[in-house]
Amino acid sequence: MTQAKHTSRLIAVCTGAADSDGFKAGFPGGETYLDSAATLKTLLGGGQIRKAGLFGDLLASSTFWSGYKRAKANHPELGAGSSNADGFDLGGVFVVSPTSELLFMHLEKLGEVADTEKLKEALATNDSQNSSGTAAK
């Protein structure tokens, strides 16, 4: 199986002590950045950091636990990872073009993952913008 090569950068933004080495081992070519004031998470939450709810996200979501165990089993190189940090803060993923156009947005909810097909579409859109020279220099 071949993987498509995309032109966009892969950036992880975290708010605390970072397992940056583990991230880079799991995502070669990825970059890690620290947002110690949690400004980005606050923006994503519309002015406050979104938190995982006790019933809505943890107890009622068996998919979260099964997904968590599967991820730990499949990626032992990622180490302790998110299990011992700011675990109730919810993040997200977004794709931005060089012209600051928001191409894709997923707000994290435990037990759910981003729509990978839409994510790929956003990456392809970004690739086409880069190849056509739309990017701001």
Binding site: L10, L44, G45, R50, S82, L102
Partner: protein, 63 residues
């Protein structure tokens, strides 16, 4: 009551998010090259995507 337990307030605020890319771009972040090294100087997040775009993962903790 159930709304409180299920994190309803947070969900409502999430729905009200206004995706102002100018605000996103202005967030100051510091590069983490390695766990052994101190964070780099602060740079605006927008500088990271201005050349070729970016997938930005806002994580609880990388890994």
């Amino acid at each position: 009551m159930m709304r409180w337990f299920s994190g309803g307030a947070a969900e409502s605020s999430a729905a009200a998010v206004k995706y102002s890319m100018q605000e996103f771009a202005a967030v100051q972040v510091q590069a983490l090259e390695s766990e052994a090294d101190p964070p780099g100087p602060a740079v605006p997040l927008g500088d990271l995507w201005k050349d070729r775009g970016a997938v930005v993962m806002v994580v609880r903790r990388p890994g």
